[in-house]
Symmetry: D2
């Protein structure tokens, strides 16, 4: 059954003075499959009102709280009411709205890390399983076409058995005590009450962990971590180095940092198997370098020659050489989420390719990772199973 | 006066089996400022209908012809009717819909090159002047933040007097006689009846010309061109090399090619003044290299440190390191067009920054360029003034 | 017959305060095949003496003039005397020592451009033919392994018929009137009495021309040039843009500049055939990018996987990843020259691979190129056959 | 006192079928300061003889054993005899010739790692201290001009307090069981009797460790290592991941691998301080990227603008843009060793800049590193002080 209208979305968090809300909205807009119809954008009702206005929403659908939104929208006609909820609040405010939305029959797309702690993540997993609704987690980097191609190449066995994975996420934005200047992003991310037990590992370490598992197709089974807080007065980690072991015997390294002065958001990954290796950097996100035992290295390109995976093709919008970027990767998650929601609505079993986005399993893995690296580091960098 | 709703847009061309229509729609969607409400997407009414359906449009607003659309929408209430028309047809079908739309009071955003020939471009310029409406031309590459920064740096005098400009647009997609395989894009672009007097120079040479003039802030005053048709049976040029002279005495080179086998869409530009130089490649569109007489080269980055122009900042959506790409550059044109339309609607004189997109002047320059390089080449590569 | 000792070399020019003499000596030293035994390093006998001392030469073999050197060495025993002469003087001082050396039975290796003008180059060619001695011209860039591989790939037909060649040599060192500051290199290169009819085209345009013909395996048959002098008071060109036509119908562009502010010595070349393309930049001299019609691009690397030419292998010294550079490229010319000299001494017909270095033919082509681009430009950029 | 002749060198190891001997000879040749006069190139006297012949040495100075060489040369006149010994044998054959050479008054330049084990390294240190002779260790990568600049920049405090160091040396050449094919380099490096307790960590881990300490100016104080042997049947490690702690509280990561399939020799380093960061890759050895807290990143280039250290200038031979590579870096060690030897011979106290090469201290650090990472890994990746 062909869809006849856009999917209606409500948003929790993301007032105009936040950062990630706008990114979610652009990602949701891009492909014209989703329409924002309501929101509870801020704990401050005035801000919510202003945000709704700036987004041309019906003022009656600017809600003071997520509870109010979910209850009010639930009562609307099927034609009119929101169908999915996008949650873009800080970590400590993910679980409650996600739970309530799911329990009221709304599909959910949620910013990462999935929850405040592992316990909540496991609870949420149960609710998702029980409700059978669609849940997407915006680990954006797996939305890049070349990352999907990388995963496909490894799955296909072309690189042989994976032996080593190096994944990095260096940032420099917390090199100074930015949180004490009142900068909003720094403020909550370094606050244990809102961020959880980790700043760097929770915020970007989980991205790196997710990327490593997604691309390699392997679970990390053990971590040995050395986390640090370099900026004086900071309450959580701002840097971490982690030795990794994978389920198939592969070894690896993960490092993430918010004090790598001068770095932007250069998440990158390298994987080596016994027949070849691959390398990808967000900075050059449309290239994937494949290195061979006995042939010249190849440069695979978004939309370019010789791509083997249909996942990369279906997640590409423009011809090779016209760079696609972060918002397109983000939009791939929203679009694939929309496809899965439509499939659910039509009671169609969606295939694995259109259901190609991170979900609660990735969320639980992320929270487990955070818990284990914090434990490992506290005990002096000893191996912890995960 | 704050806007209270999205700008309503109609589209001419761009059925689901075309290429550039979808790109325009994504670009228009991204920032949530524009809403597609109607269209005449194809000369085939069935295709128009299907396209409208897939875009969730009101079937009554899927029009068989652009004439029908303009007339019907003109009669609707101000609240309901389209306010702007997006034209995404092949070159020979730009002028008529643009003229009619403008004459019925609709602002226009149009794909490039602006018209089929120079004569039409000049006519269109008169109509735009007369109507006073907003006209945008989607020379996308000037939408990149780092291109805006490049222009700003040169305008600021930091690089001194411009001496040399090298601009290139190598593509490889027409290395084989693709038009004889029925490929739709190749078919019309190599057809003099639909494309005009040039294929390569019209399609991508104008992009290079526009980029050179935009970044340098200088008009090209003379060209000496050697155009070629390398693929046997092809009716128009598929490659061209052009010597350039600029108004201030600077010299330059432009080359564009559709037979540069293996190239994607690597438009790039280098400019050298007497104090410094700059370099930008679409492939790495978020970097702008600045080279100095006596200091180390600097890497400016979208959203990064040390940008001097507000144009680059206002045309950036995400933090440094999260790549923005072609669709964002395209969306910058749509968004700035939307701002200009709103200013016009509110009778506000828009400033030069929000009115930062190519318009009819750039369109006329482009058609003049095409006419002159074709003349120059036909006469054996002699200098032609433009 | 195996060699039992190093080849003995004398040098004309290259006192310790010159630039290129030291480069020649390092290149000659690298492989331990050549031994500097004497020299006439400067017109100033005191400088010659000091240079000889600093090079640990026998003071009796530090000669006041090249004539003296050639005559004195000619009288020594075959065991003791120099066997080859290296000429590293400015352009106007190439012909006379080369002629005299050859006429006294010494092989010659000479800096480029080969002579002061075309007439001298043709004269020199006759002398070389007549004497049958070995003559090498240090167009260094053809000494790079990846350039040899590029030539081989095109010769092998893998890229199909060559259609387009773009070759560039941007430098920035003459962006200011350096010659008026007394800088020695700038002084003679901008002086028509020592440099010839061109500065930029003679000094680096010939490198670009040589690289284009070497890599493509095609002669340039026509040029259309626009040369400029941007720096006020300068007597010769400091920039030039040239349209090229090749013997097989291929087209191309050459630009060379000494006023590309902030550029180092970024000579680079791109060639496109109907099956593929290639790209090489001196800045990344150990990589050669091969681009295909329908396969991913490949990165060939000095000493790496998948090289097809034995020329690249025999001109490589260290394993892949350990960069080789300019001095190694230069040394390849000296080493191959040494091999050719030994072959001559042993009356062995050397094969084309060991005789792989530029010689008088390349020198004549270079001088012809300079003459024709200067003519073309003077006449307003019209086509000149060469 | 000005030198009047080249320094005379003997070599231990390095027959024509070895790899590193030829590299040492080219490095020693480049600058014309050193002359190879004798050698004991192989345990096979026939090979020694052939090698001597191919190097045009006096056959009487081709010695069967290093003992013979040292004794015979000791008896020659001061004018004639070798002055320095270059040792290029496998690891287990470094200590004995070095010891004997030093005890007979010869300066020594030795391949790395310095000895077979830590005990020997400490013994050697005592001998060097006692004899007061010059000892150089060819950790080549610290010979690169941009590495010297990097060290200088950090020493100058421009990057602030160092917080994090990431150093990597991925290679792929041992991805397969190459040692069982008879390949000579693989054979001895994987053999505990010749290589020592480690293959990967000893051969290239020490390079990474040396680079990290040289550039940062900080000693590693603790390591936590996870070493692996991925290739079945191999007797030593072929991969290792190491967490690092530095004396000033900085943290870091080192990984080295011989099974990173498809990698060449991409040693690289990144350092972040609280004011800025730097990045260097051997693959692009002439560039050093400096990243700032609040300014655009800068690209420093060998021989280019804005270099602050005299060490980088004095270790550069050609103008910017003409790449210098591995052999030049290697030659810098030989040349600086030669300067130090001359200073010693003339009883002049050499300054730190001309004495800028790795010596026994770096050798001892390297052996300590190997011992500690092997211990740490054996005990399950626990912290070991070093």
């Amino acid at each position: 059954m062909k869809p006849t209208r856009k999917i209606k979305m409500g948003m929790v968090g993301g007032s105009t003075d936040a950062f990630i809300g706008g990114v979610h909205r652009m990602a949701a807009n891009l492909d014209g499959q989703i329409e924002l119809v309501c929101g509870s954008f801020s704990s401050n009702p005035e801000k919510t009102k202003q945000t709704a206005e700036s987004l041309f929403l019906n003022p009656n659908r600017a809600y003071s709280t997520f509870q109010e939104m979910i209850l009010a929208e639930s009562k609307m006609s099927k034609e009119e009411r929101m169908e999915v909820v996008s949650i873009v609040t800080p970590n400590h405010l993910h679980f409650e709205p996600a739970k309530m939305a799911l329990e009221h029959g709304f599909h959910v797309i949620c910013d990462k890390p999935v929850t405040f702690n592992l316990h909540e993540a496991i609870e949420l997993e149960k609710i998702i399983t029980k409700t059978g609704l669609v849940f997407a987690l915006t680990h954006t980097y797996t939305g890049y076409p070349m990352i999907k191609e990388a995963r496909h190449i490894i799955q296909s066995g072309k690189l042989g058995k994976v032996r080593k994975v190096v994944v990095e996420y260096p940032q420099g934005w917390l090199s100074t005590p930015l949180e004490f200047s009142g900068q909003k992003q720094a403020d909550w991310r370094t606050d244990p009450k809102r961020s959880g037990i980790s700043c760097c590992m929770g915020d970007i370490g989980t991205h790196a962990e997710n990327l490593a598992e997604y691309v390699s197709g392997l679970n990390i089974t053990e971590v040995c971590a050395d986390l640090s807080t370099f900026v004086s007065g900071r309450l959580l980690d701002d840097d971490g180095n982690v030795l990794l072991r994978f389920e198939n015997g592969a070894k690896g390294l993960l490092h993430a940092s918010q004090i790598s002065t001068g770095e932007e958001n250069d998440i990158n990954i390298r994987v080596w198997g016994d027949k070849g290796g691959l390398e990808w950097h967000q900075k050059d996100c449309n290239s994937l370098i494949i290195k061979w035992l006995d042939k010249p290295a190849e440069i695979l390109r978004t939309g370019g020659n010789g791509l083997s995976g249909i996942a990369s093709a279906t997640n590409t919008r423009v011809p090779a050489g016209h760079p696609e970027g972060y918002l397109e990767a983000f939009a791939n998650i929203y679009r694939n989420f929309a496809f899965a929601v439509r499939a659910h609505q039509n009671n169609i079993k969606h295939d694995s390719i259109s259901y190609d986005f991170p979900s609660i399993n990735e969320g639980v893995r992320g929270m487990l990772f955070v818990e284990k690296v914090v434990e490992s580091s506290k005990e002096g960098a000893i191996w912890k199973k995960m």
